[in-house]
Amino acid sequence: MNKLTRAFIAVFVVAFLLMYAVSELNGSDRKTAGNTLTIYNWGDYIDPELIGQFEKETGVKVIYETFDSNEAMMTKIEQGGTAYDIAVPSEYAIDKMKKANQLLPLDHSKLPNLKYIDKRFMDLPFDPHNKYSIPYFWGTVGIIYNKDLMKGKEIKAWNDLWSPELRNNILLVDGAREVMGMGLNSLHYSLNDKNKEHLLEAKRKLDELTPNIKAIIGDEIRLLMENDEAAVGVVWSGTASEIMWEKDNLEYVVPEEGSNLWFDNMVIPKTAKNLKAAHQFINFMLDPKIAARNAEYVGYSTPNQKALEHMPKDVVNDKRFYPSPEQTEHLEVYENLGADMLAYYNELYLQFKMHKK
């Protein structure tokens, strides 16, 4: 009994000492108790120094939390229990959150820096007049390919993927909208097409691609491309820039037939408690110098036009990740297709995945 008592007392003492250590580490923040801002963002999706700078400038204490998928984030916000003041969902999630009344409208008069956002990226179909959301980062879906393995051949369009030379050499990202969109785009249809004939045609076209497909996978694409396991991958531009960061002989193209334009956006969810600080933070992140620093840290494309002036020329002039307005013109944002149509997309995608070579 004595031994047990001693052991348990030791455990509690250690635990309380650690708790003291945590409160010491948090120590400097106690002064601003009450004025806090809770941010819910993707993992490693902001320059941590910027949070410190924001705290210093405004005196607001930032609580920073991370999530790994839109669905997880929506569940936590739907349930409540945490006062998230800022969240960063992707564009299709915004549509869902809007329908579920999970978002609060933004007060544009408190966001003077909004004028710096490129007009191309304002007033998009998923959020007309930017009532609820401000773009945070954006990108495209495109093709990354290994110049060595392609032996000098270039890829410019979706239809190049159907070339017989690429047998068993293509990696696809595992997403119904992305893959079906690629099929539709290769036939010059819109990737929001609701015509079932067109969809079937796209599916049949995709079936013809199966001999060329090596795998349909998720994050593993990064590793496989870096290790020369496949010549071609269909990926998001964010993934592409990360792969190219590691390896030189790769090239990324946005196919000329058209492709998807995606956005991650700052929103204020209905759980917000500190609306003033939330607006302050969004405005802070829209500041051109801040946005430029953040874009350099994260490596994705910023929608902040003025920020481009503060960034290295070779990054900004890289047409692969900062395509010109003429290029983005034929890119489309995913629209909400409605539950039935989405189910049909998923159905066709599943059939395609099960199609025998």
């Binding site: 009994m1 031994k3 047990l4 052991a7 348990f8 455990v11 509690f12 250690v14 635990a15 650690l18 708790m19 250590a21 945590v22 580490l25 948090n26 809770t38 993707w42 993992g43 490693d44 999706y45 941590p48 609580i63 920073y64 939390e65 991370t66 999530f67 790994d68 998928s69 997880a72 569940t75 936590k76 349930q79 409540g80 229990g81 945490t82 006062a83 994050d219 990064r222 590793l223 870096e226 290790n227 990360e242 590691e246 994260v298």
Partner: protein
């Protein structure tokens, strides 16, 4: 005497290599200056420096350990009381029913437990954060402790208790001087099981974290989209060494105790 074959040893060595190789692979790359897990470019301690410079991550690590220690300790206390009452239950059917209910909690998927906790806490108005994580960890650890303690209790002979009572021990004496010392290996085993369950739990914790309170598994998981940096390797290395030290410490304490016990017998 027949010479023992070498194959069992080879097999054993092979199994251990397979089990430990991923961990050592990860540890090895925590010293890589290249920044990825692909090619080893040179030795560096930068990732460890970065790790200790990251205040947020350190707080998360400490929080994870605090929750594990507290939840394991509290769950052990409740679990031991539970095991005692299950073992000394008179009616056989109730005993069986209680045991089955206990086992259901162990096998039911973490996701369901986590989601139900989230609903419960938000309905009860408990703010998500330290309290909610601690409470849920205690809750899912209790059945594990019960399972670890029960065999020890069942193997104990009832005559020990009868003898103690005969010699004039009060019920409290019986508990504290006979039963608890006898089952203490089970109690420690239960404590360590609860500790490891709490340290590596993702599914339940994910649902009940909030308001800036996070544990290591949730934090690492959220890095998946952007790729995991090598300072997580460094952190895993440190945690692995920490665990090794704990296990070694536990082993030596047990060794000393058993030697002391033997000496006592010889006297």
């Amino acid at each position: 005497m027949k010479k023992k074959s070498i194959w069992p040893k080879v097999y054993l060595a092979f199994i251990f290599i397979v089990l430990y190789a991923p961990i050592f692979y990860l540890m090895f790359y925590s010293f890589n200056s290249g920044g990825t897990m692909n090619n080893f470019e040179g030795f560096t301690l930068d990732w460890y420096k970065e790790l200790f410079g990251d205040k947020r991550l350190l707080i998360i690590v400490l929080n994870t350990i605090i929750v594990a220690l507290l939840s394991a300790a509290i769950a052990t206390m409740i679990g031991v009381i539970g095991a005692l009452s299950i073992v000394y239950m008179r009616k056989k059917t109730t005993k069986q029913a209680l045991l089955s209910l206990n086992n259901v909690l162990i096998v039911s998927p973490d996701v369901i437990i986590g989601a139900s906790f989230l609903i419960l806490f938000t309905m009860a108005g408990i703010k998500l954060g330290f309290t909610s994580v601690l409470l849920s960890h205690i809750a899912f650890s209790i059945p594990i402790v019960v399972i670890m303690v029960l065999p020890k209790l069942e193997e104990m002979s009832m005559s020990l208790i009868d003898a103690a009572r005969d010699l004039g021990a009060s019920p409290w004496d019986v508990l504290s001087k006979v039963i608890l010392p006898y089952i203490s290996p089970g109690i420690f085993a239960g404590f360590f099981m609860a500790l490891t369950y709490s340290l590596d739990d993702f599914a339940v914790t994910f649902f009940v974290t909030g308001n800036g309170f996070s544990t290591l598994s949730v934090e690492i998981y959220s890095l998946a989209r952007r790729g995991i940096s090598l300072n997580i390797n460094a952190l895993s290395t440190l945690l692995f060494l920490f665990t090794i030290i704990l296990v070694a410490g536990y082993y030596f304490i047990m060794q000393r105790n058993s030697r002391a016990a033997e000496a006592g017998v010889r006297k």
